[in-house]
Subunit: 370 residues, 2 copies
């Protein structure tokens, strides 16, 4: 992308594409002719001071809010006309992450020869994605974001923005995310990637001319989804209740027994994700998340954060057992000026950053979007 | 088994076999000519009042202690001459669970035609295994166990013994186990079973004439092992350290990158289990664990426990995030005479019932084996 893009009016929440040229990647790979897919809401001010970037989480998309489309967005409660991130005041941008499957260059994209990248798609880190998005910001005429705000992987992306491009981030919101992916997060991620690779349909990543590895991707999601929810949440919603019209004790053979409702629920989550997401993108973005360590190559965490200029807003879900609130507190304490952690009081677990974001809307309004 | 067995002296910790005849199963299956493999330590008193049954956990075996073999047992710290469960005083018995792969009739056993059961092996519940073990106890001349004591699935087996055979259990020790498998435990179990079934080598369970589904079984173990350890344990031991001589950022391709040490550790756990355990047995015993609900068909939990006569010893690992201490407290509170929960103070997580059993040795000695 060599010429600044014009934001087309009336296209709130509609996918747009920008070519940003070739990208040298942190671990040695190269992607030519990278395209980023993104959505915007609202209008950019003349001084470009009202731009807000909202990075999505692992299997999220750029569709943060409905806008002029009919499809609900994943942070509608937070973003829209009159909402906390008021699109009558702010120009909101969300970019499908490099390596994803919602329009940006990813493993299912064609290479120069017109064939899907598949197994040849390179390792991309969160820092690579920030560098790509910085080029998009250049193209949009955004020298500095008023705010970069995200949850989970989106929070890690926001944090990397503030550290990699310290002069380009005024406020940084890191919700239910850590300074670095932990041993346990790596461990659960590895199990998910092993599930995808175990599916014979995966074929090493080159499955685009055949059936995709739905079962492997579904299993990956199944594992992940349990970690996104708390034990009390699963107990309260499902307990040991059998699925309607099924009997877990009704057959002599294990393969033939009826399901518990929690199994049916996870079957549903597995197939829902498998039907909308690309397994290679799941792999690539999970690897990016595993690679996340804002201090990597920058000395200690404190040293890495020392150069940031952003005002930080840190929040955690109190019942999160994948991104523990204490890890958010450790991040907050390592910031140059320190800060406290806002608690999303919800029993659901990690997914509270999506389902219960209203718990911190007031604080976000006061401290960031006032 | 129609004639009482004689315990052969000098065979402590050596596998023995007993035929217990055909077994009708709870959900409608039938197993003819069931064999139970078991080990014993010490000598049965003339009045058979010193017999202790120690059921093993999911992938455990009957090899609780070394005895006259050279192979270390899994509860050596607790069981042996002069130990808390003093084999100079007590006659200890451990039975490989029905459906397992350490000698008792299981999916790899031959059926009447001499072919492995494989996919045709029936659904067995913990209650089925108790009924089978009761026949073994008859054969050994043990009318009542002084104690039945186990951890995890072994604790669930001990609890079912006390409820299913209330007149045959004097003391019952339930460690790191619940009154019923919870929604989360079912959810993680389902993911593990899906991993085994996803492995193309599984072949629906009929793989005994070919390569076994090692990758699927390994993935199941990988998932399980994370849940057996606490997040702080993984963080303390591994953090984000790369595996020696490997570089997680050293390659452009995700499939080719070096591992983090936590990944190498889980690879090791996965292959260690896959090399010693049968995938179908993992499936059958996991299904038995999923089926665990001591109140099933017996009214409320309190009603189910009302008929027990055993003195209960309940313990939990304080850092357990698979079998939460609160769940042990709920079980303890539902007992006819109530009781308190002994805490195994260890940061490791669920596996503390194995690695830190010494934390409750004193209490066990005082309250059960004094």
């Amino acid at each position: 992308m060599r010429t600044p893009l014009q934001h087309p009016a009336g296209k709130d929440g509609v996918l747009q594409y920008a070519g940003i040229g070739g990208l040298d990647l942190e671990t040695g790979g190269y992607l030519p002719d990278v395209v980023l897919a993104y959505e915007t809401w609202g209008q950019l001010d003349a001084d470009a001071g009202n731009a807000v970037l909202i990075p999505h989480a692992l299997t999220g998309s750029s569709h943060v809010a409905r806008g002029s489309s009919t499809e609900p967005g994943w942070w509608e409660e937070l973003v829209g006309p009159g909402r906390t991130v008021d699109t009558n005041r702010y120009f909101v941008v969300s970019v499908n992450m490099l390596g994803g499957c919602y329009g940006s260059t990813g493993p299912s994209s064609p290479d120069a020869a017109g064939l899907p990248w598949g197994s040849r798609f390179p390792f991309v880190t969160i820092r690579d994605s920030v560098r790509a998005e910085a080029r998009l910001a250049d193209g949009l005429g955004i020298a500095r974001w008023h705010t970069v705000l995200g949850g989970s992987l989106g929070g890690a992306r926001a944090l990397e923005w503030a550290v990699t491009e310290p002069d380009r981030v005024l406020h940084c919101g890191v919700i239910a995310a850590t300074a670095a992916s932990t041993a346990e997060q790596i461990a659960f991620a590895q199990a998910q990637l092993a599930a995808i690779r175990l599916d014979p349909a995966f074929n090493g990543g080159d499955y685009y001319n055949g059936a995709p590895p739905l079962a492997g991707l579904g299993l990956a999601r199944r594992i992940a989804h349990i970690t996104y929810r708390s034990e009390p949440e699963l107990d309260y919603r499902f307990g040991r209740t059998p699925q309607t019209a099924e009997d877990p004790f009704g057959a002599a053979l294990p393969a033939g027994r009826g399901r518990y409702s929690v199994e049916s629920y996870l079957d549903h989550q597995a197939w829902k994700l498998a039907g909308r997401f690309d397994a290679n993108s799941y792999l690539v973005l999970t690897e990016a998340l595993v690679s996340h360590d804002v201090a990597r190559g920058r000395g200690s965490l404190r040293a890495a954060l020392a150069g940031t200029t952003a005002d930080f807003f840190i929040a955690a879900v109190e019942s999160d057992r994948l991104y523990f609130p204490q890890q958010s507190a450790d991040l907050a304490a390592a910031l140059p000026r320190g800060t406290s952690v806002h608690l999303i009081r919800a029993p659901i677990g990690h997914d509270g950053f999506l389902t219960s974001i209203r718990e911190i809307s007031g604080a976000l309004k006061r401290e960031v979007f006032g």
